[in-house]
């Protein structure tokens, strides 16, 4: 990732302290078990002008504030994978010393990567279950859609592209029309037509309940992991 950074024209270094000394806004992007060590390392260089933003999964604001100087402006953010294609979904929460200015700065900066909203910290684990892991649910669904098409005689590569475009298009309509998904679903279902027949199959398979359970399981797991 260092070389990637260099490609983009960023300065790179192997020294964490140097990063903190040269910057105002500092993003912490380590694995959870590495973080305490890193915080101890940079703590002496952290000043009142710094804004520390943690992307580290499962590490609470309380923990961050404990390991940094007490007046440090801390924010915690949970992104998701599609940030890399500027279609991400991110939520963030602020610590006790972070104010509206810091919140606005973060939001302005990250809106270029997708949807970015401030939330109470308790929503962060839910966001993990919904959107962090949620991306994988969508990949699974896309794969299954394509397989259905292959079963019916379409070549796999084409089916894959169409499946992805279908998801993209449906999501775009949801976001742009602001309509309730149930209404949009109804709009596609002509009486006695193909769509309602297919939806009946999905309902028979209790798809809705299964998806709800998936979000629940991921959220619960995020909570459990945060405790350790």
């Amino acid at each position: 990732s260092l070389s990637r950074g260099q490609e983009l024209g960023c300065r790179t270094t192997h020294c964490n302290l140097e990063v903190v000394q040269r910057s105002t806004l500092v993003f912490l992007a380590t694995k959870p078990h590495v973080l305490p060590g890193v915080l101890e390392e940079i703590r002496p260089a952290v000043g009142t002008h710094h804004i520390v933003v943690s992307l580290v999964a499962g590490v609470t604001i309380q923990t961050l504030q404990r390991l940094l100087p007490p007046w440090t402006k801390v924010l915690r953010i949970m992104p998701n994978l599609p940030c890399v294609v500027q279609a991400g979904a991110m939520v963030f929460s602020r610590g006790s010393s972070a104010g509206d200015k810091e919140s606005a700065l973060l939001q302005n900066l990250l809106s270029s990567c997708g949807l970015c909203e401030e939330v109470p910290e308790s929503y962060i684990n839910i966001h993990t279950g919904l959107s962090g892991s949620g991306v994988a649910y969508v990949y699974l669904f896309a794969e299954a859609l394509a397989e259905g098409a292959v079963k019916m005689g379409m070549p796999g590569a084409l089916a894959g592209r169409i499946a992805a475009q279908t998801l993209l298009g449906a999501a775009k309509m949801l976001l742009e029309t602001g309509e309730h998904p149930a209404k949009l679903r109804g709009d596609v279902c002509t009486p006695g037509g193909t769509t309602i027949y297919a939806l009946h199959q999905l309902e028979k398979g209790a798809l809705r309940a299964t998806v709800m359970s998936a979000v629940e399981a991921a959220t619960n797991r995020a909570c459990d992991m945060a405790k350790h």
Binding site: A182, G186, A206, R208, A209
Partner: protein
């Protein structure tokens, strides 16, 4: 229901012991045991008999049908063309309307649809609509949708009664007295239905409005989804619709023997006919309110 004076209504039944008969008489409806007399003194004829009996009723009253008569059949699965075919031997242009209603007409919250036959005019349909709108919702449809309507709103009250029974059980399990549980369950469904009918919003949106994050309702809904609640209801409507089509097919073939019908007691037919459904069993009491004909 206030649309028609009772003395303008005539009802006929071969069996005078039925509870509906005394009910009708109390309302001031004219009563006779002769179908022929009823036809002669009426303009709108409601055929409120079980589907297998329809052909035989038509044979009986056919000769007295005149151009002015509007023949309305509520028999499940009996097509307009089958009625017109039978009547055409007696009257060249019989006015036939087929309708499908449901039991809550009894409390003026019925759901009725009708389809007009070849020789029925727009005014004839409107007349029926006016009559049935006095006991609930009424609208015209294409005849080929009537089976689907049967599956949905014809049988619908039964689905609701089943749901209400179970909801009450849930209430009782959690400590409510039975009567209160039934009362509250029924009111909850009534209120929800009313909200939906009066709202522009999609039922999905109305559902969301009830579900506070992490609250009781969303937990309960998850259970419903896990049990395939939605698909069960879809299956039910589908099954009822398909069965209606089967009944129609059986009726077209006139599978009931004339001997069984000649006995002319409705109870007897109940025992011998396999094709009876809850919907048609209710037809006898259906017309306690407003019927012109039996």
């Amino acid at each position: 229901a206030g649309v028609l004076a009772a003395h303008k209504i005539t009802a006929s039944s071969p069996d005078t012991d039925l509870p509906t008969v005394s009910g009708l008489r109390k309302m001031g409806v004219n009563f006779t045991v002769s179908n022929k007399d009823t036809v002669k003194s009426s303009d709108v004829l409601f055929l409120a008999v079980k589907p297998p009996i329809i052909p035989f009723i038509l044979e009986e009253v056919g000769p007295d049908i005149e151009a002015r008569h509007i023949v309305v059949s509520c028999a499940a699965g009996v097509t307009i063309s089958s009625i017109e075919k039978k009547l055409c031997t007696f009257c060249p242009t019989p006015k036939v309307i087929r309708c499908m209603t449901n039991t809550p007409v009894i409390v003026r919250e019925g759901a009725t649809v009708y389809a007009t036959g070849t020789h029925a005019d727009v005014e004839d349909g409107k007349l029926l609509e006016q009559l049935m709108a006095s006991v609930g919702f009424c609208t015209e449809v294409e005849e080929d949708l009537i089976d689907a309507v049967t599956g949905l709103s014809g049988s619908g009250p039964a689905y609701a009664f089943t749901a209400l029974d179970a909801l009450a059980d849930g209430g009782v399990k959690m400590g409510l007295p039975r009567r209160l549980a039934v009362r509250l369950g029924a009111q909850a469904l009534l209120g929800a239905a009313k909200m939906l009918l009066e709202s522009e919003q999609h039922p999905g949106q109305l559902k969301d409005n009830v579900c506070s994050p992490g609250g009781a309702t969303i937990h309960a809904l998850h259970f419903l989804e896990s049990g395939g609640f939605r698909s069960l209801l879809i299956n039910a409507v589908e099954a009822s619709c398909i069965r209606t089509r089967e009944l129609q097919h059986l009726a077209d073939q006139e599978k009931i023997s004339p001997a069984a019908i000649k006995k002319t007691l409705l109870d007897k037919v109940k025992l011998e006919s396999p094709s009876l459904s809850v919907a048609s069993a209710s037809k006898v009491s259906l017309f306690t309110n407003k019927s012109k004909k039996n």
